[in-house]
Structures are given as structure tokens and as C-alpha cells.
Subunit: 136 residues, 2 copies
DNA sequence: TTGCGTGCAAAGGTTTTGCATGGCA
DNA sequence: TGCCATGCAAAACCTTTGCACGCAA
């Protein structure tokens, strides 16, 4: 639906390479900027934000609003994870740990929200807040 | 556990009165400040934030991080609502609407998270992101 | 009188934006 | 050459903080 013309630039490449290397973990925009600077890479802050945003739109990246005041959290998921391998996130409010969940049962809640409340929940965007095992 | 000595002030009264009048809906700190100003009430911005924070701590108010960039959302629940009357929230990513949900079935997901994943989800803090009926 | 509460203004931190320049196709 | 992408700096925004004064108990 969106036949965007886009150029291949050095900055995009650098960024995506980094993101891929961090697959399975999460990171903030600030961390990326810091890392880039430490590596002597030339990629400006606004470019990082702009690229991140479009990658989120493309579904290659997930963005989590972990907290109102702290920076947004991103996670590389790649293009292949379409539909299958849904991933949920739980954030411990005490220790700050972000837990990844791969769970079939969670899909039920999605269905219930859809059928019972006409709301299509997006697991990529939703974070469950609460307390982890250690912090309870 | 916290025998705080606290004074009763005019500002607290004004604020709580307003919050009570908004019971059942949600509001941001900014909206409160704006309303107060329009009413000619004397209550400073920092006071609003500070009172809001302590009310959240007391459990009288719920705070939702609806989005990373937009302001935090508050909801008056009062002291009596302990345990019963759990309330869930869905945020439409397209139109921005925040939907309140009072649903028993949603508790199941909480139980599953607790028993299956040792994670105690807090519905007061969790917001489900997705698309509402109109925006789908 | 004691010390919590308040207000103002400034700082803090993240994210967005305007505008001129750079570089892909 | 046309147009998207980038960088810099500044702006925008929400929220927090420092400090002196006010006011409840």
C-alpha cells in the first residue's frame, strides 16, 4: 500500500547492522547515538530517530513505551516474523527488567478483545506492567 | 507503613474536588492546570504534579503511561475500589482514543501470566495498544 | 514555632522540526 | 538533475527540581 521510493545510504546500513547485532535485546535511541559516536560513525541524532521511526512503521522494529519519562525502547524483529512467532513483553516496575514472552495462550486475550470489545490489540506495541518473580 | 503527617490545604481540596468530578474519565496533568487557570484558581503547575504523584502513591489515582511522548493519563478511582472493579484500558493508535474496559474475562490473562510466567501483571498500569472499531 | 506545602522559574531529558546541504538513482 | 536523506541546531514538550516564602497544626 505504500510504494515508497527510498535510497540506500551509508547511515541506514550502519544503523541496521547495529540493530541486527542487537537482535533479542532492546535498546533506546540514545544508546544508539552514544554507541555510534563511540565508534566514530557519522550518523546524526535526528537521522537515528527518523530511521527508527520508519523501521517501526515497516514492522521491522518494535517500539515499546516502557515508561512515560524514560526513553522509548526498541527491539529488532526483522521482516520474517510476520504473523507467526508473536512476542509479548512484561516490564517489571520494580527492577525494570523487560521480559520477553512467547506464549500461545496469550492469543486468547487478543481474540477476546477483538470479539468481545471490538478492539484489535497489537502485541508488538503492548507492554504488560507488573512485578517479576524476584521482585514480588 | 507510612504514617505521613500531612496538612490540609486549599490547593489539595480544589484538586481533589476536580478529580472526583471527573470520575469515570481520564485526564492529564496539563489539562488540570489549564482548567484551574481558566477557573481563576490559584494552584501552581508543580503543585499539581506533586499532588497527583502522591495520590497515585496512595492508590486513589491511577496513572497510565498511554504513550511515550504524550502526557501521562490519570484516572480517579477513590479509596474504596480496592481489589474489586478492576479496570483495563485500550488505546487506539490511530485516533488516540482511550477506552475503558470493565471485564471479568480479562482477569484470566492475569492469572495465566502469574501461574504460567510468574509475572504479576498490574492492570492499573497496563495499557493495551491497538486499533479501535472505527479505525480498523 | 515547626516543617510541610506551594509557587515560580529554571533545569532536565527525550523527541521533533526547519532549513540548508549532501548524495543516491 | 530531481528528490530523498542527512546534520545541525533550535524548538517543543512533559516533568522534575531548587529555593524562598506561606501557612496549617
Amino acid at each position: 500500500m505504500n510504494t515508497k521510493t527510498s535510497y540506500k545510504t551509508k547511515q541506514k546500513e550502519i544503523l541496521v547492522n547495529y540493530l541486527v547485532s542487537k537482535k533479542g535485546t532492546h535498546f533506546t535511541a540514545g544508546e544508539i547515538c552514544e554507541y555510534m559516536k563511540s565508534q566514530g560513525e557519522t550518523i546524526g541524532q535526528s537521522t537515528v530517530y527518523r530511521r527508527l521511526e520508519s523501521l517501526v512503521d515497516e514492522g521491522i522494529l518494535n517500539k515499546y513505551t516502557v515508561d512515560g519519562t524514560s526513553p522509548a525502547c526498541f527491539e529488532y524483529v526483522g521482516e520474517e516474523s510476520h504473523g507467526e512467532e508473536v512476542c509479548y513483553h512484561c516490564k517489571c516496575e520494580k527492577c525494570g527488567k523487560l521480559i520477553h514472552l512467547h506464549c500461545e495462550e496469550m492469543k486468547e486475550i487478543q481474540e477476546h478483545l477483538l470479539k468481545g470489545h471490538q478492539f484489535m490489540m497489537d502485541p508488538k506495541r503492548t507492554v504488560f506492567y507488573g512485578l517479576c518473580e524476584q521482585c514480588r
